[in-house]
């Protein structure tokens, strides 16, 4: 059902009453980011696939559409979302874009933002605006569509998004090798530097786990070349990693951090347990170290850290921005959402 006009009227009312809004899709990522205040603006009923031509590799979908529904529609045509997004519950497409999270396939195919072709956005002025389009190449106007990925709903209410999709690989196989932590990063770097049909690469002591995707002959050839044992439940392994249902994520009480750093960067000296995904570029850390320590370690490695899950307070969740970058964030927020209606404080306290 198309509820664009209903949502627009609600935003207009919020502008008139100077009342902040908390955009709510499926609520599956309520744990992620900082807490926000505001009256709920529910998008879950604004749903449905608007346009899908499989031979175009493009789908246009309303933001409230359940992610499961979209993935099923694509699978029925032998296609998929190339960035393998985590659901973390009853996710909607809009929330998936706003969170900007990508799964294990990301280093090999791209992130959420790489697949966004266009959006229809409800702005903080109560206007429905369209950016980008349904085509693969488009350099008309500033690329405001990709900026929606990871913006946590702070720039506007997404109404529709057009995504590039990919064909599903003919087959996927997962192999696993036992490797010492000292050799993990260099081994992953060596594999990533070769022309191999790898589609996921993760290390959790003592196992290096590799997924291969493609035509049968290519996958079999690469598996033989890499060596290691075939993991019969490979598909489940990657699903549980993506959805954070693996024991690494579920056991213990310590905070879960995400560090995005150069794939082969040496591990920061922080006490805790590590799981390396994305060939080392996305590192999960369970630790009781302070936020200051983790942010500092990420900064030293030229990357950034996110307090992903915590049972404690969600104060500074995202890497503090340097002042000049923070200034640009505030200026852009004012451009999109001059009345500061949408998800205030969800990303940074004063944004």
């Amino acid at each position: 059902m198309d509820l664009s006009e209903t949502l627009r009227r609600k935003v207009e009312a919020a502008i008139a009453e100077k009342r902040p809004l908390k955009i709510l899709g499926g609520g599956s990522k309520a744990f992620y980011g900082r807490e926000t205040r505001g009256a709920p603006l529910e998008t879950g009923s604004h749903r449905g696939i608007v346009d899908y031509v499989p031979s175009e590799l493009v789908v246009t979908v309303r933001s409230g559409t359940p992610l499961v529904e979209l993935e099923q529609a694509l699978a029925a045509e032998g296609q998929m979302l190339g960035f393998e997004p985590p659901h973390f519950g009853p996710a909607t497409v809009g929330g998936m874009i706003a969170a900007g999270l990508s799964g294990p396939r990301r280093p090999f195919t791209g992130a959420v933002r790489d697949f966004i072709l266009g959006v229809k956005l409800l702005s903080g002025r109560g206007e429905i605006l369209t950016f980008g389009g349904q085509v693969m190449k488009n350099v008309a106007g500033f690329d405001l569509s990709r900026m929606m990925a990871g913006s946590l709903g702070t720039l506007g209410v997404m109404l529709e998004v057009s995504l590039k999709v990919l064909p599903r690989p003919e087959m996927e196989v997962t192999v696993r090798q036992e490797i010492s932590p000292e050799r993990s990063l260099e081994t992953m770097a060596r594999i990533m530097g070769k022309s191999l049909p790898v589609s996921a690469l993760a290390y959790e002591e003592p196992f290096l786990t590799i997924r291969l995707s493609g035509l049968e002959a290519a996958v079999a050839g690469a598996a033989a070349r890499l060596g290691g044992d075939l993991l019969s439940e490979g598909e489940r392994y990657w699903l549980e990693l993506r959805e954070q249902r693996a024991p690494f994520f579920t056991e213990g009480e310590s905070d879960l951090w995400r560090l995005a750093v150069a794939p082969a960067a040496p591990l920061a000296d922080i006490p805790g347990r590590w799981l390396l995904d994305w060939g080392g570029a996305q590192r999960w850390l369970r630790t009781s170290a302070t936020a200051g320590e983790v942010f500092a370690a990420a900064r030293v490695a030229g990357g950034h850290a996110t307090l992903f899950r915590t049972s404690g307070e969600r104060g500074q969740v995202f890497q503090p921005l340097p002042p000049e970058l923070a200034r640009l964030h505030h200026a852009l927020k004012r451009a999109f959402d001059p009345h500061r209606l949408f998800n205030p404080g969800r990303m940074y306290e004063d944004l």
Partner: protein
């Protein structure tokens, strides 16, 4: 620019910029009067070639204090007039910032200065078994800073994406003098994705001072297939069918009959002259996979009515097939005093319909059009043949505008990879409404409140729609005749 202002700028700048990096005489400024879109020319007020960041920062400060606008320029190969100078402004060339600062083969990145040539990155990476994927046709000359500003494409976008998908981080200098790092050492940065925003921003938001690109492992094998079809409609259906089959070719290019004939007359690439349309596609990756994909694609092409399917037997045949495609522009240039290259993108399943529409329109205008384009991306480049000495330019521009309207009408866009610059300002008014354009201006204001960085480009003011144009070629003379254009 008033001589007094020029003299004052020179006085201020020579305190920290060597005199030979400041070009002030008309003769010195002349080479900078246009970029690859030569139909538009403007002598800049002053040309400055800063040698390092300190000089650039000083230059920005001097200009900001005096409210003098700046236009940045890389190699000057852009096709939409994005680097067209301003009479009252300073043109800043970063072409000399051409050092590769770091090539990290382990993390598969190259950190480079903005003036580094696109192809130079791949040349430096190749010994490590790596390469930089985006390959605009001007890659031998165009600079990576310009590639970022234009979000440059090329023939491998379907599989490998555009510049935005292959850059991991950039450093920019804003007009307020702030150095800002966007992206990070990993695959993403904190906060909003300003890295994506800067791509294709046509130099309106910040000055790109450093670029970190992602490198990919060289594919084990690349092979090429050519398929000939009786009609454009059949070829377009085959493009869709190949993708529907789950294949993602590294490149998938199409030529129509006028283009095929022009190329065969020019260099005998071995294309069947009787064909109504031709598809050339590349598959790359692990050797076993490539072989199978090629066979599958060949089967699909035949099912869709291909009269001939030919797989290049070896590297030399492969290069010959591509040589024809890559020389299509100059080949067409031989047939006509002038041609105009359009650039739009449409949904692939509308290709046949749009090409037929273009042919109808061309008939109405009494002009000939040849089509050579990136079919896999739906990125069309109709080449309108004409004679400027016969006063046909106005008619060509009117046809061009109608072609872009056709693109918008089927859900496409007015520019796939050449940018808006100055040439497509009025088509921007057709593509976007007031609300969108207003937000573009607000975003510009967020980065550059004084409006001094490349003002008047890319986003039209609400009250103004400039003339439409295209890549203008007179008497077969390309703006950069040494460059390939395809």
């Amino acid at each position: 620019m008033k001589p007094e202002l020029r003299a004052e700028l020179i006085r201020s700048l020579t305190r920290f910029i060597p005199a030979d990096a400041i070009l002030s005489t008309e003769e010195e400024r002349k080479p900078y009067e246009c970029d690859g879109l030569t139909a538009y020319r403007q002598l800049p007020g002053l040309v400055v070639l800063p040698e390092d960041l300190a000089q650039l920062k000083g230059l920005v400060e001097v200009c900001r204090e005096r409210e003098v606008p700046l236009v940045m320029r890389g190699a000057g190969t852009g096709l939409s007039g994005g680097a067209l100078p301003l009479a009252d402004g300073v043109l800043v060339s970063l072409a000399r910032w051409n050092r590769i600062l770091e090539l990290d083969a382990v993390n598969r990145i190259a950190r480079v200065q903005p003036g580094v040539r696109n192809l130079a990155i791949t040349e430096a990476a190749r010994p490590f078994g790596l390469y930089y994927a985006p390959d605009p046709s001007s890659q031998i000359a165009c600079s990576i800073g310009g590639n970022v500003c234009e979000n440059a494409g090329g023939i491998h976008c379907l599989k490998y994406g555009l510049t935005v998908n292959n850059v991991q981080g950039i450093r920019i200098l804003t007009l307020s003098g702030d150095e800002v790092e966007l992206g990070g050492s990993g695959y993403d940065g904190p906060g909003y994705d300003l890295l994506a925003l800067l791509h294709g921003s046509e130099g309106l938001l910040g000055i790109v001072t450093e670029v970190t690109v992602r490198l990919l492992p060289l594919p084990e094998e690349t092979r090429t297939l050519m398929a000939a079809f009786p009609s454009v409609g059949g070829a377009a259906a085959a493009v869709a069918a190949v993708i529907r089959e789950g294949l993602v070719p590294a490149a998938m290019e199409m030529m129509d009959r006028p283009a095929i004939e022009a190329v065969e007359d020019y260099l005998h690439a071995g294309y069947p002259r009787s064909a109504g349309a031709l598809i050339i596609c590349d598959f790359d990756g692990p050797a076993v996979q490539v072989g199978e994909e090629l066979a599958k694609a060949g089967r699909v092409m035949k099912q869709e009515g291909a009269e001939e399917v030919k797989v290049a037997a070896d590297a030399s045949e492969r290069l010959r097939l591509w040589a024809g495609r890559k020389s299509a522009f100059p080949a067409i240039g031989r047939l006509t005093p002038d041609y105009y290259c359009m650039d739009g993108t449409i949904p692939r399943h509308r290709i046949a319909e749009v090409l037929a529409g273009i042919a109808d329109l061309a008939g109405c205008y009494g002009l000939r059009v040849a089509n050579v384009f990136h079919a896999g991306d739906g990125n069309i480049h109709p080449l309108i043949m004409y004679d400027s000495s016969a006063g046909e330019l106005e008619r060509v521009e009117a046809l061009g505008r109608e072609i872009l309207e056709l693109c918008i009408g089927v859900g496409g866009t007015i520019t796939g990879e050449h940018g808006v610059g100055v040439e497509k300002l009025d088509s921007m008014c057709q593509q976007f409404g007031r609300g969108e354009l207003k937000l573009f201006h607000d975003v510009k204001h967020a980065f550059d409140p004084g409006g001094l960085l490349n003002p008047g480009k890319a986003v039209p003011t609400l009250s103004r729609c400039a003339e439409l144009g295209g890549m203008h070629v007179h008497e077969g003379r390309l703006p950069h005749p040494e460059l390939e254009r395809f």
